[in-house]
Amino acid sequence: MFDWIHALPLWAAKIGAILLFAGVLATVWSLPEDFVYFGAPDRRRWRDLRVWATVLLAVQCGIYYVF
């Protein structure tokens, strides 16, 4: 079923992983700011969950780049 993938080198997996993280990040940043803050008691920068997502995904990119 996935025979054609077997021919790909292992680094293709790393690229696939980083593309997945980039896709999630792009999705998150495409959301309106009002939607992200909806329900928050104030609009302080630390409550911007897109920033949280960016930090989390940057760590993941680093991990999969190294390993």
Partner: protein
Amino acid sequence: MDNLLSFTRTEVSWIDLGLLFVYFAGITVYGYLFKSRVHSSRDYFLAGRSLPWWIIGMSIIGTNIGSNDYVGGAGGAYRIGMAQANFEWIGAIPAMIIAAFIFIPFYWRAGVFSIPEYLGRRYSEAVRVIAALILSLFSVLIVGVFLWATALMLQTYLGWPILLSIVVTAGVVGLYTVSGGLAAVAYTDAVQLVIMFTGAVVVAVIGVNAAGGAANFAAQLQERFPDHLHAFLPSTHDEFPWPGVLLGLGLVLSPAYWCTNQAIMQRCLGARTEWDGKASMMFAALAKTFVPLLIVLPGFFALLLAPERLGVPDQALPWVVKNLLPPGVSGLLFVAFIAALQSSISSTLNSASVMVTRDIIGVIRKRRPDDAQELRLGRWITLAALVVGIFCAPLTAQFRGIYVYVQQLLSFFQGPIFALLLMGILFKRITPKAGFWSLLLGLAFAAALGIAGLNMLYMAFWSFVASVLLLFIISAFTRPKSASELEDLSYTSVVKEAVDV
């Protein structure tokens, strides 16, 4: 499951026993105190929608981590190295972020108590009942597995009889779960998570010191076991080929688990605001990032420090406990194991109760019970689920590798249910009839793939793809719900409302 039996120490110190006693007494009293907060079914099932993001985040990870993660995670790291961490990283973090931004706002704003209830509102009551039946059946089965695992550990570590161990565990968890509901579960989960992380950090520090310090530890791994430092395994690998990890785990199984698991999502539905619900999952993702360090490291310690190769990889953690940990610390780790299991049991019981009470009995009964009756019924169902779990627990011994078996069974229905949720949220054109038939046919297709012997990662992926295709094909020939019926249930309506406000 058998690997837990090897967790025997030659003697148990009074410090270890004291820690265990303090834990059992403390968690029971602390959990029971939440009984006074419960006055309605909303208080019981959703903690009165009062939970802050940090408590929910800790509770999510407490529910997520079981003893199998400790023992199996260390064993996996010993056997295949860093690739074991894929379940915690690529197999969790992206899906948790998607759950936070895409799924939680819909569930929270719809005001539902459960995932099947959301499916019922989006599609039909038939879809709701089928989904609730599948999910609650597995919940009760898993409670039995967790009870058996805890009993085995108490038996092997303390010498308690199995039956007594099951009854004590069920008694402690049952007391606060039946009486205090979700608030008791979430707050005790948070305490249990602190215990788990403390135990794991202490083990990590002792292990790294035994290996000659952090620099020496890393250098030795690099020199002696370079293959263990790759996150991805070749595409020809039997268990975890990288295409399966990316497509099956990363794109289907992981989002299906993190976006549709009732035990995980229920505490998010109890968030005090929508932002708290979203933030809780992000906070849980932060904690999840560090979980591999805690469960993978012991496997590496055994790899470097054991004088000879271990016969069974899952012996890695028991080897570390027996050979590296002093009295007191081993007791702390044992308490962490018990805490991990109890948090999973309480969360699963609570989620099974809400689904049986509201999504099965509540739908099938013609006359809806009032709130006081529903609260009473919820407590009885929780107790009943615990009792059924107690009777199911010994059955676990009849199946070798039941835990893996349960994971494989989960992959039968996660693809179709995830397809219904994702497409239902994203596309208003998806119809109720398409939801019903795609669920049934998707389950049948997954079963056929499983019988054909397909790897569970690929099975989840293809059953998801088949369900998505069926949803669109059947929707083309059937009538969708009106825009007013889909208010607060679709992506465009929820985002638009937030922007308008």
